[in-house]
């Protein structure tokens, strides 16, 4: 599973993307976020308050209850500020 980070989420995690292999118990975006939070202090800081975060699975916006599976591209980022 490939995980991408953008904006201040990336700044805190310390990397723009990483390949991860979460345990089978991780089946949703929210569970993935909790699992990622345990990987480093940077991850913990990024995922401290999930209400500030948005997620996409395979480049589609999804809620945190959305399923994730091996092979997915999952992205975490703050609310968007384009335009």
């Amino acid at each position: 599973m490939e995980v991408l980070y953008f904006a201040w989420v990336r700044d805190r995690v310390g990397t723009a993307r990483e390949q991860v292999d979460p345990p089978e118990s991780v089946s949703t975006v929210g569970e993935l976020a909790r699992w990622l939070a345990s990987r480093s202090n940077g991850h913990a800081a990024a995922f401290r308050d999930c209400e500030l975060l948005r997620a996409a699975v395979n480049q589609e916006h999804v809620p945190f209850g959305h399923p994730v599976a091996a092979g997915d591209e999952v992205a975490f980022f703050p609310p968007m500020t384009g335009g």
Binding site: Q59, E60, T81
Partner: protein, 154 residues
């Protein structure tokens, strides 16, 4: 038509190109978003727009498709830049062309409102006092949400 690019664009030339050969267009609405040096707070030196390559193109295409589903448009165009820009630089161009002005004006407003909250771009500002990520504005969510219902027929 959508484009995501690092370089600047010429709104007049883009509009001309979009309209070439079309005689059923009665109105063309456009919006240009520009890097603004806010009068309040520390002076802005530059702004960097980060984006999510791939997803950006998908979202812009989806938003444009939705506009074409809601209004009868002759042509539409979204250009969004990424990278580092300074105050006065153009960030985004939205153009909609339609037989009647109301369709062009409404769909242009729709596109920029939706784009603000749905296209994966993030702004980082460099000011005299340091750098920071721009926070999303509640009013942008409100502006986007008003389009959740269909527009009135005209």
């Amino acid at each position: 038509m959508i484009r995501v690019q690092g370089v600047d664009f010429e709104p007049g030339a883009e509009i001309d190109r979009l309209l070439r050969g079309r005689t059923a267009v009665g109105g063309v609405a456009s919006f240009i978003g520009i890097v603004r040096d806010d009068l309040h707070g520390p002076a802005l030196r530059a702004m960097t727009l980060e984006h999510y390559p791939g997803m950006t193109e998908r979202m812009l295409a989806a938003i444009e498709q939705e506009a074409n589903r809601r209004w009868r448009l002759s042509a539409s165009l979204i250009i969004h830049r990424y990278g580092r820009m300074v105050p006065g630089d153009r960030i985004v161009l939205v153009v909609t062309a339609a037989p009647h002005r109301q369709e062009a004006l409404e769909s242009c407003q729709f596109l920029i409102d939706w784009l603000k909250t749905k296209a994966p771009f993030w702004k980082r500002e460099e000011t005299e006092e340091g750098e920071h990520w721009v926070e999303a504005q509640v009013r942008d969510d409100v502006a986007a949400a008003k389009w959740q219902t269909e527009p009135s027929a005209n």
